[in-house]
């Protein structure tokens, strides 16, 4: 990237800058004409100067053009004009004034839009460039880079630069031309006064920027300090578990508090300087009139300047300070933004980067690394310069399964891992040569290594998103030719998208394109792709986990249009099966006409499922639709009464447990942090009933009532009359929603249709489990699984599990599941070489060995490199490479004599 912000701006936006400048210049004549008009309206039309001396009509709007003398002179009449009276002139001139106002407005509109678009485009380009550079950070750079700091730079710190870019060139040109005009005018009137003005302006332009330099230095410090603050907060959030484990909340608070003080201190000093400079600037501006009055007056009194000239100078001087002030401000902003830019650029220095990524050619993307590996004189160091591998020379044939083993307990321990990481391109060696299938491995681009080499390490990196997205992450290699096709066939909105991308150096690809590298996994239909992913998940031992995700997941009927119908079928099968086994009582089926005792009051009221906060949790107690239905059935008072009863019971039952205790969070209706609010609401209710309650109290007290299930909580609040009225409220609510006719987030339960907002399992049960029957959960799970197997629905249910959101960094998965996803993702891409570097550590020993066997079988015609642990059975490998403490590397074939000894 360019060192200088102005080079960067000029290089990428000169055409737009020039266009804006031309329009600005073109707008000036209209602007000046609109300034001149009011005078004419007052003098000529209203005061009637044009009609002085008995003239009753004047010519209005005559347009002629006089050729300059050097072009021969003469006048061309463009429009002869109209002859009008005084009224006509007044309305004509006023109309003209309105016309200029519109023209000026239009110019201003266009200029502002163009400036804004220019700034935003440059901002997009800058952000994208910075992100592209981030992707090129060397492993060493990454170790010292904080994610949250980089994010703040790209997101926040470039923001003011974008705002400045639109004004970067146009503003100073405009302002200086304005200032110059005023200056020339003053000079023409009186040279001595002009010199005085020049002197004061000179002082302003030298002293003020100097003073502001201090302010800018402080601003720079502030930028760094706030960036560090962002980094620090990111660290604390990432390491929250450590903070809680060690109980160091107070330390962290004081640390952040200190940083905030430092920031305040910097800001305060900046303010002091800023206002001091402002004062001085104002003072200097006011000093000039002082000179005008004193010196100009003196000249006038002594007769060296006539009064008219003095008044003209003073009038002209009125036009000088605003552009000057803005010019000084612009300069200040320029310095400020340049410093910000420098600060940003420093984080993205070329010496910290990998070489630029060349676009992949078809030949490269089809290049395979199916061949023997030969490593010569490999030398690997860690970032402190400690040698991990010294001058190692080794090789193995293809296909083959190779174990890397450390023998000893000193220097050799890290060697197998280091070699594995070099082959995975996770670290760069300090020296040596690696040849894979006849190619110089270290000079191969990532397009080749990323496609052909898989690495399963101990720390899986999952991205937030669905399981499917994570599994396909390794094959997101869009073929190059699709790119050109997309840009050629862009239509409508897409055309703008493409042209904007071209203007800002952004990619033409969108995430919606088909990114899957079909050359790696074959041309598969969506369902075949699901089947493939499920096979690989099963290989990684996650078959049951995926099924579990699926049955607790939501069915995407856009992706699986047939599944909804099949689930409704399965629902009927399940019902039939339960009655065959005499287990009908296990489930209380949903019925529009009856109250479901095993469901809460809220569920009975809504009789449908929603994932919107308006129909879940406390949102229900605020939802006007629900409240209206409750009021109509006179249920509000009863439910608030139940809520108050529950609150009182909870207060009694949990009174002796500390807030936040496991039992409170698991069983109480009331959130620990709201205990005080509930206490007060209850007291008000007990003192004066409904009338004393505030709006918030009603919400608080209504919520627990909506969660109440009589057979489970057994507080004895429900009777048949109440049940009947709740049913009536249910029907009324449904009727209200239907009548409103607007799309509603509440999807009703219907026996013959899938409810998209309910989990797959709930859709199968279509009712609530009677938890009071012994072993109800186990029994029903067994029947559900049976029915799914019988209807051959298992693959479809597991496919729904592919939509499971793994959470940030895969935090919603267990360590074992994360390891499984990482392994499956790597086998999905069908690599030529698979490196297994402790990736099975999260499994139990027995499961790990089963999965290891499966991976070996899958890769039997390819190459597999395993960093062997203590328990690895070396007999099964084709070759075993041993690193020992002396630095020697030995390759052996199990059951055979040493093949070759390296240095």
């Amino acid at each position: 990237m360019e060192r200088s912000l102005f080079h960067y701006i000029w290089r990428h936006s000169r055409r737009d800058q020039i266009a804006i400048f031309i329009v600005v210049i073109a707008s000036l004549p209209f602007y000046f004409m609109s300034l001149d008009l009011p005078k004419r309206i007052v003098n000529d039309a209203i005061m009637g100067n044009a009609f002085a001396g008995g003239v009753s009509e004047v010519v209005f709007l005559d347009l002629d053009f006089t050729w300059p003398d050097f072009m021969g002179g003469g006048t061309v009449m463009l429009f002869p004009g109209m002859t009008v009276g005084q009224m006509g002139l007044l309305f004509g001139l006023s109309g003209l004034f309105l016309f200029y106002v519109c023209i000026n407005g239009a110019f201003k509109y266009w200029i502002n839009i163009a400036k804004g678009a220019l700034g935003e485009r440059m901002l997009r380009r800058l952000r994208f460039d910075l992100f592209s550079i981030t992707l090129r950070f060397t492993p060493d750079t990454l170790r010292t880079t904080k994610a949250s700091e980089t994010a703040t730079i790209i997101k926040d710190e470039v923001e003011p630069i974008g705002g400045f870019i639109g004004d970067a060139f146009v503003q100073p040109l405009m302002l200086s031309s304005q200032a110059l005009t005023a200056m020339v005018f003053i000079m023409l009137q009186s040279v001595p006064l002009g010199l005085v003005v020049l002197l004061v302006v000179g002082v302003q332009f030298t002293v003020i920027p100097r003073l502001r330099r201090v302010q800018l230095r402080l601003g720079k410090e502030r930028q760094l300090a706030s960036r560090l603050l962002a980094g620090r907060i990111g660290e604390v959030v990432d390491g929250m578990d450590a903070v809680h484990t060690h109980g160091t909340e107070r330390w962290e608070k004081s640390e952040i508090g200190e940083r905030l003080y430092h920031l305040f201190d910097l800001r305060f000093r900046i303010y002091k300087w800023k206002f001091m400079v402002k004062f001085l600037n104002n003072f200097l501006s006011q000093l000039t009139p002082f000179f005008f009055y004193a010196i100009g007056g003196y000249f006038a009194l002594t007769g060296r300047l006539d009064i008219g000239q003095l008044v003209a100078v003073i009038a002209a001087y009125r036009d000088l300070p605003p552009p000057l002030k803005e010019l000084i401000d612009w300069d200040q902003q320029r310095l400020d933004v340049q410093i910000k830019y420098d600060q940003i650029i420093q984080q993205f220095m070329p010496e910290r980067l990998l070489p630029e990524h060349e676009p992949a050619t078809a030949a490269l993307t089809e290049l395979h690394l199916a061949g023997p590996v030969s490593i010569e004189n490999l030398r690997v160091q860690d970032q402190h310069g400690t040698v991990l591998v010294e001058d190692a020379t080794l090789s193995w044939p293809y296909p083959g399964c190779v174990a890397l083993v450390a023998r000893g307990d000193g220097a050799a321990l890290a060697a197998p891992h280091a070699v594995a990481e070099v082959l995975a391109r996770r670290i760069l060696p300090a020296g040596g040569r690696i040849t894979v299938a006849g190619h110089d491995f270290l000079s191969l681009p990532e397009d080749v290594t990323g496609r052909r080499i898989a690495y399963v390490g101990t720390q899986p990196r999952l991205f937030p998103g669905s399981l499917r997205h994570n599994l396909l992450y390794g094959v997101l290699h869009k073929p190059a030719q699709i790119e050109t096709a997309a840009s050629a066939f862009g239509d409508g909105g897409d055309k703008t998208r493409v042209s904007e991308a071209l203007r800002t150096g952004n990619p033409l690809d969108t995430p919606e394109d088909d990114w899957i590298d079909h050359s790696a996994i074959g041309m598969l239909s969506p369902s075949e792709l699901d089947a493939l992913l499920l096979r690989h998940l099963a290989l990684a031992g996650l078959e049951d986990d995926t099924f579990h995700f699926g049955i607790h997941g939501w069915v995407d009927t856009v992706r699986y249009p047939e599944l909804g119908k099949r689930i409704v079928e399965a629902r009927q099968h399940l019902r039939a099966r339960l009655s065959e086994c005499g287990m009908t009582g296990l489930i209380e089926a949903f019925d529009e006409k009856t109250y479901a005792n095993q469901a809460s009051i809220g569920e009975n009221l809504l009789f449908g499922a929603s994932r919107s906060p308006q129909f879940t949790g406390q949102g229900r107690a605020r939802n006007p639709l629900i409240l209206k239905a409750l009021d109509a059935e006179q249920l509000t008072g009863d439910l608030i009464g139940i809520g108050a009863g529950i609150t009182a019971a909870m207060m009694e039952i949990f009174s002796e447990l500390p807030p936040g205790h496991a039992l409170v969070t698991q069983f109480s209706f009331l959130a620990s942090e709201q205990t005080v609010d509930y206490d007060e609401a209850l007291r008000r209710y007990q003192a004066g009933g409904l009338r004393r309650l505030r709006a918030d109290d009603r919400v608080l007290l209504l919520t627990p009532a909506l969660d109440y299930i009589e057979p489970r909580h057994r507080l004895g609040f429900l009777d048949d009359g109440l049940r009947q009225r709740i049913l009536a409220a249910r029907w009324r609510l449904r009727a209200d929603i239907d009548r409103a006719g607007e799309p509603c987030d509440l999807e009703p339960y219907r026996a013959d249709a899938l409810c998209h907002n309910a989990m797959l399992r709930d859709n199968l049960l279509f009712g609530r489990l009677d938890a009071s029957i012994a072993n109800a959960r186990q029994s029903i799970s067994a029947v559900v699984t049976d029915v799914i197997e019988d209807l051959n629905l298992r693959p479809a249910v597991s496919a729904v599990g592919l939509d499971f959101d793994v959470g940030p960094g895969g935090r919603l998965l267990t360590a074992r599941q994360r390891a499984g996803v990482e392994l499956a993702r790597n086998t999905v891409k069908q690599p030529d070489i698979l490196i297994l570097d402790g990736g099975l550590g999260a499994y139990s020993a027995s499961e790990a060995s089963v999965i290891h066997e499966r991976v070996v079988a899958l890769l039997q015609n390819r190459s597999m490199i395993v960093v062997a642990g203590e328990n690895t059975d070396l007999e099964s490998f084709d070759a075993v490479v041993t690193f020992d403490d002396s630095g020697a590397v030995t390759t052996t074939v199990p059951g055979d004599l040493p093949l070759r000894a390296g240095a």
Partner: protein, 147 residues
Amino acid sequence: MSLNAEAQILRQVPMFRNLDTSRLKLLAFTSERMRLPAGQILFRRGDTSDAAYVVLDGKAEVFFEALSGTVKVTELGPHDLIGEMGVLGEIPRSASVRAVTDLLVLRIDKQVFIELLEQFPRIAIDVMRELAHRLERTTERLASISK
């Protein structure tokens, strides 16, 4: 049967005799009520001890399965506590239990039981006292058998 009635029944259980009403209600509220038809097995010998049970209504019997059939050890009725030894000792069930008549029990989850003991030393002391009494009775019976 309401929570209050359950709390009254819990008060009859020797281990919980000295608890005040709010704690009995806590115990009842954090427990699940379960129905078993006559003849159904509550748990079998060797199962994981994941809960203790208090009989609210009906009769249950403790039995062993032997080659010759089942050997009934004892019969339990209202206020009797079942399976607490397994929960406290973290050992599998030492015998099987089934409903003789229709049975209504309160299931106290192991985790909840342990939480309660940790939070309220008073309950822990009562439980210890009850266990000590039982040990004493067993010792006496052993002594009388070996005499």
